[in-house]
């Protein structure tokens, strides 16, 4: 929800008169009350619904009755526009049940299939497709914002922290006899997945360095589940300057503590987003499946550490028994970066740190078009990947956003110009051209009433085969994956029943593939 705040704020900026209602699953209701620009929060109790369904038999009726009540209630509100920020099939169906004509984000067609009408939303789906993730440098906050047609937006996530939570946070620190000297650093040590959990030992070393050398005061936050990790850190740290607030805060109090802090050290977590929303910079470790470009702290001046390792960022749904990426970030490096950031925001690293290898140290910033980006501060590593990422970024911003781009020579990376062609790109272009030829043939056959149905069928078969080849090219040449996946989403989301209209949409999709291939080639060469 916090990641949606720039979009919500943008909607309000562009339509000051509008009333915004947020519909969330019940467990996220509390956080929504801290989000600015939201006029009303509604919740749906999916947990209860699923529990009813699990009872089977009559539980089915309970769930159905509950859903009918929810739908009825929502319909009575006569919304003018819906924006579906969830990619799940059920939210699309729910919104489709409301029958609101103007809609953004994920939707469902009359047959119940999910459709992604906006090309930006298709890019969202393309970018989170695991094989394509590392070729993406657009933060999902921006991609989603664009899919909702929101241009104006704040360059930060937003949160409202009331005076009462602040007072409670102060009282909490006082109650713990917290010293009032030295920088205040929060540490979110726990992670949602075991493979993203940096070892407590490493946190201990880092905290020890910060308390000893920087006279920092450290607060450890976490959920009840994370208590054992936090306790193991606190117990082996300087107890006079290191405190745990696990189980002592609600979301508003956590927000207040983050706002009071000077810095947060964390993984890719919820508190990371809260921290930047509260205006506090973060040093964030993007371990295992976490990917800084995708979900990094959406504010300028924070630090993102991304290990350089062949297997990362890994698949979020796969376990890892040897998370070697964890060892590529040392506690000392974090402590040193923290010390630097506590002093001030920086755009360059001291030479010793600039020479760090095995991990890319990024600083977060916004480009000239207001899109979030990361700038590497240490020695260039994995230049090929950075080049593709950059080329794709520019290509999408140009093709989907119409943003004017600086020439390749002015790119932020010192590019090595490729010699020869990009592997597979020519084949994709050719396939796109062949697709256009076939579609035009199809259009002729549709118009020609004397055309043999067999020929129509054969052309259809040829197109199916061609599409298969295009998808295949994306698998053969992983760097072309985003291009071909975007094509597939385009094909999947063609709508309507009229043959001419369908053919015309299909033609547009092949044309887009050829156009984008050309643009990508230009960016790369």
């Amino acid at each position: 929800m916090l990641q949606a705040t720039p979009t919500i704020a943008g909607m309000k900026m562009e339509n000051p008169e509008c009333k915004i209602t947020v519909l969330v699953e019940k467990q996220f209701e509390a956080i929504c009350h801290t989000i600015p620009n939201v006029d009303e929060v509604l919740s749906i109790d999916l947990g209860m619904t699923v529990r009813s369904l699990a009872r089977e038999k009559e539980g089915l009726l309970d769930a159905y009755e509950y859903l009918s009540e929810v739908v009825e209630d929502l319909r009575e509100r006569n919304f003018d526009y819906t924006l579906n920020m969830s990619s799940s099939a059920y939210t699309a169906l729910l919104l489709s049940l409301l029958g609101i004509e103007r809609r953004g984000g994920w939707a469902a067609d009359p047959e119940g299939y999910r459709v992604i009408e906006s090309e930006w939303a298709q890019l969202f789906a393309t970018s989170v497709f695991h094989q394509n993730r590392q070729y993406n440098s657009l933060n999902l906050v921006d991609v989603f914002r664009c899919s909702a047609d929101v241009e104006k937006h704040p360059n930060s996530l937003l949160i409202n922290i009331g005076e009462e939570p602040k007072a409670r946070a102060h009282a909490l620190l006082k109650e713990m006899n917290f010293p009032d000297d030295g920088p205040l650093v929060m540490v979110q040590a726990g992670a949602s997945q075991a493979k993203r959990q940096w070892a407590p030992e490493k946190f201990i070393q880092c905290i020890e360095k910060l308390t000893r050398e920087q006279n920092c005061r450290v607060i450890l936050s976490g959920t009840k589940k994370e208590q054992p990790i936090v306790d193991s850190i606190v117990q082996r740290s300087d107890r006079s300057r290191v405190f745990s607030v696990v189980g002592k805060t609600g979301i508003p109090e956590l927000g207040a503590l983050l706002e009071m802090s000077d810095l947060l050290i964390t993984g890719d977590t919820g508190p990371m987003h809260m921290s930047v929303a509260a205006g506090t910079p973060v040093i964030s470790l993007f371990l295992a499946s976490a990917f800084g470009f995708e979900t990094g702290p959406y504010a300028e001046g924070s630090i993102v550490l991304q290990p350089v390792i062949g297997c990362g960022p890994c698949n979020p749904n796969k376990a890892c028994s040897r998370p070697e990426c964890h060892d590529q970030i040392s506690p000392e490096l974090i402590a040193e970066l923290a010390a630097l950031r506590l002093r001030s925001d920086f755009t360059e690293l001291p030479p010793a740190l600039a020479a760090t290898t095995g991990v890319v140290i990024y600083r977060t910033y916004f480009d000239e078009n207001g899109f979030y980006d990361l700038k590497a501060l240490n020695a260039e590593q994995n230049a090929d990947m950075e080049r593709y990422r950059d080329a794709y970024r520019r290509m999408w911003l140009d093709d989907l956003g119409g943003f004017e781009l600086s020439s390749p020579a002015e790119k932020k990376h010192g590019l090595t110009v490729l010699t020869g062609e990009v592997d597979g790109l020519r084949e994709v272009e050719k396939a796109a051209q062949e697709g256009q030829r076939l579609i035009q043939q199809l259009q002729r056959l549709i118009q020609d009433r004397t055309a043999s149905p067999q020929l129509l069928g054969e052309t259809g078969d040829d197109l199916t085969e061609l599409d298969r080849n295009i998808e295949q090219l994306g698998f053969h040449h992983p760097h072309l994956g985003p291009l071909t996946r975007m094509f597939i989403f385009g094909k999947e989301n063609i709508s309507g029943t009229d043959a001419t209209g369908l053919a015309s949409q299909m033609l547009g999709i092949y044309q887009a593939l050829e156009r984008r291939s050309g643009k990508l080639g230009q960016q790369l060469l």
Binding site: L46, T49, V50, L53, A54, E56, K57, E58, L60, L61, A63, Y64, L67, S68, V71, S88, A89, Y90, L93, L94, S96, L97, A108, P110, E111, G112, S192, Q193, A194, K195, N317, K318, A319
Partner: protein, 947 residues
């Protein structure tokens, strides 16, 4: 209270009650001894239904009372033993029944049948007696019945099943009702297998559905000695035991209450002397109970005074004569009734005018009562014996009450009798269309003589004689099957039980097919020629829109044959096969656990053990065997029949008797058939004709008689297809494609490509045609359905299925076969009428759908109520009820239920997920729920991965 005290209590209580009024306390028939004996006959017929060869059997009644049923038993059984704890009762039997050669009376100890030797009797029964005994006594008698019964002996019990009743252990009057599941466990533990348990239906209310108490009659076969104690049996019957304190009224209070009501009834009827006696009897109780009966007492006392005054005033008035039996006189409303019949039911009218046949009315009498004349058939009253009007009204009210239908559009009534109940029904449920089936022409004729029934004949919608001939028309004209009921007059049912079977078959069969929709599983064999019949059966049921699932065990064939490769010794092979079958049985049980079934149809040689079948039966599954093998060649039924509720065979006569004697519930003849979608005429290419065709062909295994006969046909253009043929001359040139097993689609090609198909039924013993051959093989139907010409050997059962010489051409020996082959080779045009007629006959009468319809009719006839109860207990029923505010959802639920889906979300969305077209709102909502659940399940599995 220990058991001795309880048995003393039983003794004292029953002595007291019988001394007071033996008829009143003997359940039914308190009006007169005559009526008591009549009801005894009726109830004895119910409780011993289907037991054959009674004259050579011995029977024991536990709790015989004053001999109400015992008298009926004496006329039928060779040796009758009546046991009762009450001395008063035993003395009364002596007085009322007298000394009989075949009667032994035993004054019991209330705990055992100790005076009866072990394994010395054939049948033990108890009716309206053990139902009132305390739990431990009941359990003791179950074990005692097992002890005294000979092996395989029959126990018949009238019991109450349903909601367990909280009755204290010292109560000798309240009804005991057990949970059916517990009762089934207990009876099995007491050494009995359950043959059937059916609802008891009597002219008055015996079940109390609102309290969950359903009166039943059950038949149990002694399957072995029980090793358990009576305490263990009691534990199974009521795991929590009987309560120590009654939470409702006690037995004494019930006794008092019943007596008071009886006293009032007697007072109302003017029998003041007995009313006073009964009142005194009740008052003796009233002092020791907590029930406030003062109001009732006062009412009776004032009623007595009032009646005494009335009687004093009319002391001189002559008392009405006792009813006497009179024959119908010629002066009657017959002509007027007949005229209505002529106008409205001409078929029935014509039948009445025909010369009197066997069913002319012999044995039908009438008798006068205060409320009008009644009819009796062979001594059995067809109306209420003393109050036909009130009796009929009460019966109709009870029927309408029991019917849970809010609007009864159509009622089928079995039994016209004297028409009192029809008058009541037409009055009480005027919106119902009434269809009447009277099994006896004689009864109808006498009824028309007896009473002016024109108003009834004008109002009823249909009147059928004997069978429910036109019943299949129901459901049309907007009458929903859901709003029909069959009301069976118990008196007519008792008098004409066989006819009732047919009516039930017609009514429940059709209705069952449309409404019951039980979940059926068809279990096939591992291998062999029966395997295709599994597919045809499943296919046939599916075409009839039944919920059917196939358990095709042929996937285990390789493993099964692997045993022979690994183990050489015959005994060891048999042992290993047994173990293998046990494992397969376990797999079947697991499959049943996963997808519960209502009916299991096993094909012959299906790999399932008796234990597994019993377990399924204990869960309420109806077990069916379609034994499509020669019962003499495959005697497996000898030890398996007892585990089946229904066995269908392809043979008649001794086969049916033998399988029945082996313990099968019901045994019926059901020949095999053809599947017209598989066995059909087909166009063949020249290449196919060349490969599969021949002037003469035979498809089948190389049995002894076939080898012997076909060797002599080797000079003819004769192709043999099939397995188990010898690899020697002359067969080496006749047997095709190395004698491999053919698929059905392949042999249909052979049928079609052959001029003359020989069909010789197999025999392992005889040469050539088996002169004693009876059953018809599937090939006969398949060839006919495929539009092929066949020469089939004569079989005793063939004539019932085809007309030999007209629809099908036969041969009875080699000589005739050769002659006919030559003739039909020379006269191909002569084959055509046979081809056309035999195919037409198969399509009309001999497809698997016909057979399965008959099979289900038979099952539904006797198990309709059981399946209906199961259906009512189905979660779908409740869901459908609750979905009423959402008509589309409700419709979807009904369709999903009929389609056989499980009662869950998956079942409901199955066709949405796979369907096409725009979604309705209901479909969107269901899909929403479906996706949420899927998402949560996915998230949970991801969480597991992550942790």
């Amino acid at each position: 209270m220990d058991e001795r005290e309880i048995s003393d209590r039983m003794k004292a209580d029953w002595d007291r009650r019988i001394a007071h009024d033996y008829r009143f306390w003997m359940s039914d028939g308190y009006q007169s001894d005559e009526i008591m004996w009549e009801t005894g006959e009726r109830d004895f017929a119910i409780v011993t239904r289907g037991i054959e060869d009674e004259h050579n059997k011995s029977i024991v009644e536990i709790g015989c009372g004053v001999g109400r049923l015992l008298r009926a038993a004496l006329r039928r059984y060779g040796r009758v033993i009546g046991v009762d704890v009450s001395e008063e009762a035993i003395n009364r039997v002596r007085e009322l029944v007298g000394e009989r050669e075949n009667l032994e009376l035993v004054l019991g100890d209330g705990l055992s049948l100790s005076q009866i030797a072990p394994k010395s009797v054939d049948v033990v029964f108890s009716y309206a007696s053990l139902t009132s005994t305390p739990l431990d006594i009941f359990s003791r008698y179950l074990l005692e019945a097992n002890r005294v019964l000979c092996d395989g002996g029959t126990l018949r019990l009238q019991i109450y099943l349903g909601t367990e009743q909280q009755v204290t252990g010292d109560d000798t009057l309240h009804l005991r009702c057990f949970a059916e599941e517990n009762f089934r466990k207990a009876i099995a533990a007491a050494g009995f297998s359950i043959e059937w348990i059916e609802e008891l239906e009597l002219p008055f209310q015996v079940s109390f559905e609102e309290a969950g108490i359903i009166a039943k009659v059950g038949s149990f076969r002694k399957s072995g000695d029980s090793q358990l104690s009576y305490e263990a049996i009691s534990q199974l019957l009521m795991p929590d035991g009987e309560p120590e304190e009654a939470d409702a009224i006690t037995g004494l209070e019930v006794e008092c209450w019943m007596s008071l009501n009886y006293a009032r009834e007697l007072a109302e009827s003017g029998d003041l002397e007995r009313a006073q006696q009964t009142l005194d009897f009740a008052v003796a109780h009233a002092k020791s109970i907590n029930l406030d009966v003062q109001d009732l007492l006062d009412q009776i006392v004032s009623l007595l005074e009032e009646k005494a005054e009335e009687q004093g005033a009319s002391a001189e008035a002559p008392r009405s004569e006792a009813p006497t039996a009179t024959l119908i006189s010629g002066d009657s409303p017959y002509s007027a009734n007949l005229e209505i019949l002529r106008q409205r039911f001409p078929d029935v009218y014509r039948a009445l005018l025909e010369p009197h046949g066997a069913n002319s009315g012999e044995g039908v009498e009438s008798r006068d009562t205060a409320e009008g004349p009644i009819l009796l058939a062979h001594g059995q009253a067809l109306d209420h014996p003393t109050a036909p009007v009130r009796g009929a009204e009460n019966w109709v009210k009870a029927q309408l009450q029991q019917s849970d239908l809010s609007s009864l559009q159509q009622v089928v009534v079995y039994g016209f009798a004297s028409g009192y109940h029809l008058e009541s029904l037409l009055n009480l449920s005027p919106q119902s269309e009434v269809i009447v089936v009277e099994p006896s022409l004689g009864v109808l004729r006498q009824a028309l003589h007896l009473r002016d029934l024109r108003h009834v004949l004008q109002k009823i919608a249909q009147l059928s004689l004997g069978a429910l001939s036109s019943f299949e028309q129901k459901g049309e004209d907007g009458v929903s099957e859901f709003q029909q009921e069959l009301f069976i007059r118990p008196q007519t049912a008792t008098a004409f039980p066989e006819e009732l079977k047919e009516v039930k078959s017609a009514y429940y069969g059709e209705r069952g097919l449309k409404l019951l929709n039980p979940s059926m599983t068809v279990l096939g064999p591992i291998q062999g020629g029966t395997l295709p019949i599994l597919q045809y059966t499943v296919h046939g049921l599916a075409q009839m829109h039944q919920r059917v699932r196939s358990l095709d065990m042929s996937c285990f064939a390789q493993g099964f044959s692997g045993i022979d490769q690994l183990v050489q010794d015959d005994n060891r092979q048999a042992l290993a096969r047994g173990k293998f079958s046990e494992t397969l049985s376990d797999i079947v049980l697991e499959a049943a656990n996963e997808k519960p079934m209502d009916i299991l149809i096993c094909m012959a040689q299906a790999p399932i053990t008796g234990k597994a079948l019993q377990e399924l039966r204990d869960r309420g599954v109806i077990t069916v065997l379609w034994f499509v093998e020669d019962y003499l060649r495959f005697p497996v039924w000898k030890y398996m029949a007892q585990y089946y509720d229904f066995v269908f065979t392809i043979q008649k006569g001794e086969c049916l008797d033998a399988i029945k004697a082996a313990g099968a519930g019901e045994v019926h003849y059901l020949p095999t058939a053809a599947d017209p979608l598989v066995h059909a005429p087909m166009e063949l290419t020249a290449e196919e004709r060349k490969r599969w065709g021949s002037p003469i062909s035979f498809v089948g295994a190389g049995y002894h008689n076939r080898q012997q006969m076909f060797a002599s046909l080797s000079g003819m253009p004769f192709k043999i297809w099939g397995t188990e043929w010898p690899h020697c001359k002359p067969f080496d040139r006749m047997v095709q494609e190395n004698g491999r097993r053919l698929r059905p689609d392949e042999y249909v090609k052979i049928f079609n490509a052959t001029d003359i198909n020989i069909n010789l039924h197999s025999s392992t013993e005889r040469d050539g045609v088996d002169p004693a051959g009876d059953f018809i093989n599937p090939r006969t139907f398949e060839l006919a359905a495929a539009g092929a010409f066949q020469l089939v050997d004569t079989r005793s059962l063939l004539g019932e299925l085809f007309v030999p010489g007209e629809e099908i051409e036969t041969f009875s020996d080699r000589k005739e076969l050769v002659e006919k082959i030559k003739f039909y080779q020379e006269h191909p045009e002569a084959r055509i009428p046979f081809i056309e007629k035999s195919r037409a006959r198969v399509l009309k009468e001999h497809t698997y759908q016909h057979r399965l319809k008959e099979m289900l009719n038979t099952i539904y006839r006797s198990r309709y109520e059981q399946l209906k109860r199961k259906q009512k207990a189905s979660p779908w029923t409740k869901i459908i009820e609750r979905a009423e505010p959402f008509p589309e959802l409700q419709k979807r639920c009904e369709v999903a239920f009929k389609r056989g889906e499980e009662a869950n979300l998956d079942g409901l969305v199955a066709d949405i997920v796979t369907g096409e077209g725009a979604l309705s709102e209901t479909e969107q909502k269901l899909l929403f729920l479906f996706h949420i659940r899927k998402q949560i399940i996915r998230m949970k599995s991801e969480e597991q991965v992550k942790s």
